[in-house]
C-alpha cells in the first residue's frame, strides 16, 4: 500500500490505482472534516444559534410562519421568509407603514399593552437600569399551568436571541422556551415570581422583531385558533369558538391531546 511495504510495485498500474484510491479517500474524508470545521467556526463566531433557529424555523408548518404584518391586518397573506427576524428584514419599513386592520372582539386571552411580545410566547419589559425582564405570557401560562420543573440558566450565563432561554418540564414533556433577546443573565425568577429572567444585553438591543400593542391581539387570536384545532377531539369536526376566555391549567385538564404538537407549535420547537 505504501512504498515501504512489501508488495508495492513501481508500475503504472499500481501507482495509478493507489493514487486514484487515495484521492477518493482524501476527498471523502475532507468533506467530513470540512463540515466539522465549518461547524466549529460557526460556534466560534456565534453564528451557530442563529443557524439552528433558521433550520428549526424552516421545519415549522406554513400556518405557523405567518408574517406579523398579516397578523396585524396590514397584509392579506404572507409567510415570513426571514425566521421572524424583523430586525434584518428589508421589507419591514414598507410593510410597517401600511394601515393595520385588527380583528374585532376579545382575543380570548389577556395581554399587557406595555410589554413587548416574542412569537415564542415570552414577553420583554425594559427596566430603568438598562436590563430587560423576560417572562412567560398568559397564553403559555394558561397552557402549561404550574410547570413540574424549571431549569433556568446560571447567573452570568449568556442567552442568545432565538436560542434556548430556559427549560421546563410538565407531565413528562420537555419544553424549551425561546429567548426573545440576547444578553447576560443578571437575576433569576421563577414560576411564582411572575417573571423568569432578567438579562443585560450587549449594547443597545434592537427590539423591532417583538410585537407590541394591538398587533398582539391579532397574533393571539390566531394562536387561540391554532390551539383549538390542535386540541380538538380526534374524530370531531374542527370548530372554533367565537368568544369566551382561555381556560387556565390546560395541561392538567382531562384532555386527550397531542401535547407534543401543541407545545411545539406554541414554543416554536420542532
Amino acid at each position: 500500500m505504501f512504498p515501504w511495504v512489501d508488495g508495492f510495485h513501481w508500475t503504472p498500474l499500481h501507482i495509478t490505482f493507489l493514487s486514484l484510491f487515495f484521492s477518493a479517500l482524501i476527498l471523502v474524508v475532507s468533506t467530513f472534516i470540512s463540515g466539522a470545521w465549518r461547524t466549529f467556526k460557526d460556534f466560534r463566531s456565534n453564528r451557530a444559534i442563529d443557524l439552528c433557529w433558521r433550520a428549526e424555523f424552516a421545519q415549522l408548518p406554513e400556518a405557523e410562519r405567518c408574517c406579523r404584518h398579516q397578523l396585524a391586518g396590514r397584509l392579506d397573506a404572507r409567510i415570513c421568509d426571514n425566521a421572524f427576524d424583523c430586525r434584518s428584514c428589508q421589507k419591514y419599513p414598507e410593510f410597517a407603514a401600511l394601515p393595520a386592520r385588527l380583528p374585532a372582539g376579545n382575543a380570548g386571552i389577556g395581554y399587557d399593552d406595555r410589554l413587548l411580545y416574542h412569537r415564542g410566547h415570552t414577553w420583554v419589559r425594559p427596566e430603568w437600569d438598562g436590563t430587560y425582564t423576560i417572562g412567560l405570557d398568559e397564553f403559555a401560562r394558561h397552557l402549561v399551568g404550574r410547570p413540574d420543573f424549571v431549569k433556568l440558566p446560571a447567573i452570568g450565563a449568556d442567552i442568545a436571541s432565538d436560542g434556548v432561554a430556559w427549560r421546563m418540564r410538565k407531565n413528562g414533556h420537555e419544553i424549551r422556551v425561546r429567548a426573545p433577546i440576547e444578553g447576560t443573565v443578571m437575576c433569576r425568577g421563577g414560576d411564582g415570581e411572575g417573571w423568569y429572567l432578567n438579562v443585560l444585553p450587549h449594547g443597545t438591543p434592537n427590539l423591532r422583531h417583538l410585537l407590541s400593542g394591538a398587533e398582539v391581539a391579532g397574533w393571539l387570536t390566531g394562536e387561540i385558533d391554532r390551539l383549538q384545532l390542535q386540541l380538538a377531539a380526534p374524530n370531531a369536526t374542527a370548530c372554533l369558538a367565537d368568544g369566551g376566555a382561555l381556560m387556565p391549567d390546560l395541561m392538567d385538564a382531562e384532555l386527550r391531546a397531542d401535547w407534543d404538537t401543541v407545545l411545539a407549535g406554541t414554543f416554536l420547537d420542532s
Partner: protein, 420 residues
C-alpha cells in the same frame, strides 16, 4: 388528532402520522427474529469454521457471494439516483434520494458483514489494503466498496441528524446544515467509486481464463462483464428503488411520492435495461463464436446440462430482459402502477439471475474433460445469514422511515391513498 398510541412520539417528526408503537413493534418482531437467527448462524460459522456451510472445494463461492453481488446490484440505486439528482440535475427525483441512501447503506453494509463471515480469516481483511494486488479485480472491489461504504455512511449522517430529538443538539443541527451542502461532492465521488466496483464485480468473473463459461474479452484490462455489470446495476437500481417505495406506500397506507417519480424511475430503468439486453446479446454472440472456441469450448459445454441449460439464457434475455425493458419504456405502462411494478420485479429477477449464473453456474460447469456437472445446495446457516441481511435492511429502513423525514412530503399533506 393523535388517536394512535405513540409511546415514541417524541422521536417522530412533528406532524407526521405513524402507526402505533405496538403495531410497529409487531411489524418489527419477525424481522428481528430473522436477524437474530442469522446472527446465530453467522456466529456458528465464525466459531466452528466454514464447514458449517455446504460450500466445498468445487463450490468455493456459494449463496453468500450470490447474495453479495445481488444486494450490491440492487443497492446501485443509491449512487445512481444521487448521480441523477446532483450531477444530471434531475430535481424531480429528490424525494426518493434519502430513501435510496438508506437502501444503499443497508445493502452495502449487509454485504460487507456477510463477506466478513464468508472469508476464512476475517481478521486478515486489512491485508488486502496493506498488500494490494492491483492486477486482481477483487482488490479493486475491496478498495472501492470500503470507500463507498464510507461515502454512504456520511450521506446517511445528515438524514439521521434530522431526527426530531437529535436536532435539538445544537452542534448536530449546525453540522447537518453545513454538511448537507457538501453532499453533492460525496455523490460525485460515490458515482465514480460505484462505477468501478459495480464493474469490477463483473470483472471478477470475466477475467477467469480457467473458466471459459465466465471468461470474456473486453477493453484494455476490463472484460466485457465489467461494463455489462455496470449497465445492469444502473438498470436495476431505479427499479428496486421503485419497488421499495411502492412497498412502503402500501404498508404505510399513504402516498409518499408523486406518481411522476415512479414513471421517471421506470423509464430510466427501462432504457438502461434495453441497452443492457442489446449489449449482452452482442457480448454473448462474440463469446460463443470467438472467445470460447479458441480454448476448445462450445455451447454444448455450457448449455446441455439440466436443469440449467439454455433456459436461463432465454429467461435472462426475454422474460427478464426485453419484456420488462419494453414495458418500462412504453407510455401504456406509465399510468398503470401494477404493470410498472411487475416490470420492476422482472428486472430485478433478471439481474439476480445474471448474478446467479456467473457465480454459481460458473462453478457447476465442468472444465476438465472428465469433470462432471456439479450441484450445490446452501446449508441452513447460509440461508439464515442471507435472511439476516434482508431482515437488517427491512429493520433499518423501517426505523429510518419512522423516525426520520425520509420522504420530503409537504407538512401535513400525507394523504391516505386508495390503492388499486
Amino acid at each position: 388528532m393523535a388517536e394512535t398510541l405513540l409511546l415514541d412520539r417524541r422521536w417522530i417528526t412533528r406532524g407526521a402520522e405513524r402507526a402505533s408503537t405496538a403495531r410497529f413493534l409487531l411489524w418489527l418482531a419477525p424481522w428481528v427474529f430473522l436477524l437474530l437467527l442469522g446472527i446465530y448462524a453467522a456466529g456458528l460459522c465464525l466459531y466452528y469454521g466454514l464447514n458449517q456451510t455446504n460450500m466445498d472445494n468445487r463450490f468455493a463461492f456459494g449463496l453468500w457471494i450470490f447474495a453479495d453481488l445481488s444486494v450490491i446490484a440492487l443497492g446501485a440505486g443509491a449512487f445512481f439516483t444521487g448521480f441523477l439528482v446532483y450531477i444530471l440535475k434531475q430535481e424531480d427525483l429528490k424525494p426518493v434520494l434519502n430513501s435510496a441512501v438508506v437502501i444503499g447503506l443497508t445493502c452495502y453494509s449487509g454485504a460487507v458483514a456477510v463477506l466478513m463471515v464468508d472469508v476464512g480469516q476475517p481478521l486478515r481483511a486489512w491485508f488486502t489494503f496493506w498488500y494490494p494486488n492491483t492486477h486482481s479485480m477483487l482488490t479493486e472491489v475491496t478498495f472501492c466498496i470500503s470507500c463507498y461504504l464510507l461515502v454512504l455512511i456520511l450521506e446517511y449522517v445528515p438524514i439521521l441528524l434530522r431526527n426530531r430529538q437529535l436536532r435539538k443538539v445544537p452542534s448536530f443541527l449546525v453540522f447537518e446544515h453545513q454538511f448537507h451542502k457538501l453532499v453533492p461532492v460525496l455523490a460525485g465521488v460515490g458515482a465514480f467509486l460505484s462505477f468501478f466496483h459495480q464493474g469490477s464485480l463483473g470483472g471478477l468473473y470475466g477475467v477467469l481464463r480457467g473458466r471459459p463459461f465466465a471468461f470474456r474479452q473486453g477493453f484494455l484490462i476490463w472484460p466485457s462483464t465489467f461494463f455489462l455489470f455496470v449497465l445492469s446495476a444502473i438498470a436495476v437500481g431505479p427499479s428496486f428503488l421503485m419497488l421499495v417505495t411502492a412497498t412502503a406506500e402500501r404498508l404505510t397506507g399513504r402516498q409518499l411520492v408523486q406518481p411522476s417519480v415512479f414513471r421517471k424511475l421506470g423509464f430510466i430503468s427501462g432504457v438502461l435495461l434495453a441497452v443492457y439486453v442489446a449489449a449482452k446479446a452482442i457480448d454473448t454472440y462474440i463469446w460463443l463464436n470467438f472467445t470460447t472456441p479458441r480454448v476448445g469450448f462450445g455451447p454444448s459445454d455450457f448449455y446441455s446440462y439440466q436443469p440449467l441449460s439454455s433456459t436461463f439464457l432465454f429467461l435472462a434475455m426475454v422474460p427478464f430482459g426485453l419484456i420488462p425493458a419494453v414495458l418500462l419504456i412504453v407510455p401504456f405502462t406509465a399510468r398503470r402502477r401494477g404493470l410498472l411494478l411487475l416490470a420492476a420485479v422482472l428486472t430485478c429477477c433478471g439481474v439476480l439471475l445474471n448474478r446467479f449464473v456467473l457465480t454459481v453456474q460458473t462453478l457447476a460447469l465442468p472444465t476438465l474433460s472428465f469433470d462432471e456437472f456439479l450441484k450445490y445446495t446452501p446449508s441452513w446457516q447460509e440461508v439464515a445469514t442471507f435472511g439476516a441481511v434482508i431482515a437488517y435492511g427491512v429493520i433499518v429502513y423501517s426505523l429510518s422511515y419512522r423516525y426520520l423525514p425520509l420522504f420530503e412530503a409537504p407538512k401535513g399533506e400525507n394523504k391516505h391513498v386508495s390503492l388499486g
